[in-house]
Symmetry: D2
Subunit: 346 residues, 4 copies
């Protein structure tokens, strides 16, 4: 039985981790960390957990946690995980960081986009970027995982085969993404009130969103070229789900069948990536509550572009589900354990 | 392995059955019945099932089905199940009927409220009303289950302890219920279009809704008195969930503690009924995707009334989940098998 | 041109007042009061007002305001208006208070339900309860208006004819009400975040909601009896709208036609109350953005009860619209001026 | 008083026309056309109109209509208006066509994208494209107006200044658009049911949507170059609103101030186009119910692109509001008459 601790268990991603781990047969939660709700019953914060979780919320004492837990999930704002990690801690427990602290390999780039001083740059090199479909073997051996961001997971998996195969102009990429509101977190802000989000759609962080360098890095690794791209996220009035619509210029004329074969070759062995059938567009409703990413593409011969699309649940594959997938890999379990969730509709 | 057939698998309740049975370790689906989509891939109707279900939809041939299936779920409009059932069929397979055909013991009452001629009144007596918490022992031995309606399940479980204990005036009961839109089914009707339901709340079927006699019957059995009550359902702009707010006059002054003790005594052994803590109101968000019914009550000393409240997921405990719970009981499995679902929030 | 000042102009009700007054041909706003946003452009708080309102938000200086404004609207939490009102102020300007400070005639009752010490009980007697359809003549002569609460407006107008005519048992009234989320205000609270309200319905303030005594008082005045009733509000995932479903025992058998005639006789001259046709239930979508209250009723002969229903926009007839209607009456204008708004659908 | 007839008055756009014309002081509706609801009271189809519109729905007899009406609005599917128009009709009445029949000047292009045979190509040349801000003078003299599509209105106004000034590479344009569900019409289709649209976002018509050639044409006229672009619409779970996020390569380096000055120069006299302040993104909530289009842009120096954004209400400026604006121009009225609507929030 893997003993898991969660720092930041009372945010939306933290709570989703609890949901998934409660249904995981080889893991149990030994620490419900939450600065805001110390000593309160966890089910008082999330009443869905009544009669399921009886524990109280604890402070984030990393030393004690490292002793008790085989793995620690940090589902906290940026800057916290990097302040906790140390050789001592990593010698005792594994860490899966759901924040951005270890996702960007170039510390200057991290500090520039996040406007934070990195607290432990010496661990950046060791950290493995936990996009399981791409870095599976490294993840198995890792002590410290940088669990990918929600937008980067969906964007990278949607574009990866085209980038890797060198079929698109890497400087032509435009990613227009749409997210449900759970991605904005559980903080009490006027802009996230029901009446402000409902019956509205807006872009935000235009040309400045922090997931931009993360996506650029991953696509650079894939293509072997330095990638600069546009990424524009939008806030959608729904709880869960991310949809990515990405555009790029094709380097040469290719047929639907050729591209389909490529996507299939990358993903047919991947349980959690579903390449849809021709002309079926990914939709967030079909992946809700599950760890799937649905991808597809459309060639526009008139403009010579390809439109690559992906849909997933931002709290599962975009956060807690992928974290559990990483845990499974790190502990030698079946990668899908606890994640065989049929999407819930409607 | 229990072989299950579903007639009406392409409605919302039918699809939820598929979701639950796909995650059930002792059952498999052998028949995806659907008159509207015969010969189409099931995943073409519900894309969430892509790469999960590869079967095609079939016609509802009950003879063939009875041969192949150990249990048949009928998730269809009223009138269909009663036209299919026969001694021959029941000698070969068990039936769990999610429609109303066998819920009302008095056939005249059924025909009056449903404005339908009952097709097989000779089986009404045998049919067991599948409210597991109340009729558990009979269900275990049943061949034919009348799976309770969504509103009646939530209403009955909310009021049952008070009715059974004789603490309320049974002629004073008023049930004001609210349901998500999946309860209205997947038929293409203008009134169920997104723009008609969104940003709206309305009552419907006022004083005439067909779940009224079903609730009255159950509360009559509980109290030993003939019950006539008001039941008013409302349509709420959300996908899933039923909330019941029920009012009744207390026969005498009682304390919170006395009533709490009664509710606890009825439900503390019941896995799927959660009696909430004092002053915590049931909310549909805390049960979504799960088989739980959350119940609680409030005594209003000013008026001498008690307000009894219940929340559940109409597609799970209100339909498919309770059907699986019945199946588990009928086949001697752990009652909770395949139903240990942590509610999904948000 | 009536000069209007608004204290609390940056709440939802305050902003709705701005919307309505901007479209009113005989009024202009001279003061946008807001403690939270002093010196900020009003359109920075509500971008819908960009290029429409160019003013900045001001502090709530009642002396200065009283000099400048012919009428002051207070759209603030309870306790503020009563601390501002004085003989001096009322000698210079009229006040329409959208809070509860002057709605309850018995100051002890106010203080008990609101748990506040009333700051100016000497003005309670003078204040006129601004339910225009009922107190029209008094409103015309008033200096100080207690603008009714949203739930009490809808509840009272739905039940009033039955109460006034003595046709229902006044001790049997149960009001089950449902409101959109704008009624919860614009404060930054976790419970009002999008993801908490969306896909959820819940009761709140069960047996303790502060609008209870207000409704009881109004129905007591109508019936001449002391009324004690149950009032249960629910929070619905939509922006605007209140639906009231009220139940009462009929004192004797009456026909649909008799009751219809009574409702018509009370409301046929009332522009803003629409008595719907037989069997048409009020729905909030049909009144959104307008000052209408749609009412109807259904007799349930089985139980001897009548179900009375009402729907309105909580921010218009339930707050700002009724406030403007009161202003029109107080200043001798056409009562409907600025309020001839066709409901916006969808 | 302008006498207006509406063919297709029972769709969402038709009903919005009714709402706007009811509040227009120089127009009255003399014909509520609706094939689906002939002889039914208009308020039975849209209960918001109860006690506001007492007329019945009529068949679409164009001869009779042409005699009675000074202007006929056709808010119908493509193909109908072109089958009704004739020299005789146009000699008696003006036509404002909300369908696409007369928007595309090249009849082959129309027939190819719409897969319809055009019924009256001889009137295409005469028809004026009713984008008021661009074709104002021609509109004033027109007999036949092709009222622009919703997406084209928002897209064109967002991009127009950049195209006209030759600042962007016209072959690099990518338009990613998002629409509320009223744009999908009131037809009873499973895909538009509440439970299918709610909690979902999807792209549709990728690379094939019929508004593509319309946008291309307008931007071609603006730039003097033949434009081919990508247009991808998405369906958002909300009733009203369109958001356009458009991307293009800048031909040379330009500053925020330069571009701002250009947008201001095009739109500062335009009542219904609001150029937002720096870094304020257009959001649909701020224009709901009004005729405004909010536009803004962001320069991304890293990629050398400009992101142009626009938000409007698809049923107002995207359909009925623009139609009324056209009517005002054609009849010599103040262009804003009946359209001075403050956006309704929340």
């Amino acid at each position: 039985m893997i003993k898991a601790g969660i720092i930041g268990s009372t945010g939306y991603a933290g709570q989703e981790l609890v949901r998934l781990l409660m249904q995981h047969k080889d893991a149990e939660i030994v620490w419900y960390g939450s600065r805001s709700y110390i000593d309160q019953k966890y089910y008082d914060v999330f009443h869905n957990m009544f009669e399921i979780v009886d524990d109280k919320c604890l402070d984030d004492n990393i030393e004690e946690l490292a002793e008790k837990a085989d793995v620690v999930f940090t589902a906290t704002p940026q800057g916290l995980c990097s302040s906790l990690v140390s050789e001592d801690v990593l010698s005792k427990t594994k860490i899966i960081d759901l924040s951005a602290d270890f996702r960007i390999k170039d510390v200057n780039r991290y500090e520039e986009w996040y406007r934070l001083k990195h607290q432990s740059p010496e661990f950046i090199k060791e950290a493995v970027y936990g996009l399981c479909e791409i870095n599976r073997e490294d993840i198995k051996k890792a002590r410290l995982i940088a669990n990918p961001g929600c937008y980067p997971t969906c964007s990278t998996l949607s574009i990866y085969p085209m980038a890797k195969e060198g079929l698109i102009d890497m400087n032509s990429i435009i990613i227009d993404a749409k997210s449900g509101t759970s991605g904005a977190g559980r903080g009490a802000k006027v802009n996230n009130l029901y009446c402000e989000v409902n019956e509205n759609i807006k872009a935000y962080g235009v040309a400045t969103h922090r997931h931009t360098p993360e996506i650029e890095d991953q696509l650079s690794y894939a293509s072997g070229e330095k990638v600069v791209l546009n990424f524009t996220p939008h806030l959608v009035p729904m709880n869960r789900g991310i949809l990515v619509t990405a555009y790029a210029n094709l380097k040469k004329e290719v047929s639907y069948e050729e591209i389909k074969e490529i996507y299939d070759s990358y993903y047919k062995e991947e349980k959690f990536v579903r390449v849809l059938e021709k002309d079926v567009c990914p939709e967030t409703r079909w992946v809700e509550g599950s760890n799937y990413v649905d991808v597809n593409f459309k060639i526009d011969q008139r403009t010579g572009r390809i439109i690559m699309m992906g849909a997933m649940d931002n709290l599962v594959k975009g956060a807690a589900g992928q974290a559990v997938q990483n845990m499974n890999l790190m502990f030698g379990l079946d990668e899908a354990e606890g994640l065989e969730l049929v999407p819930m509709f409607p």
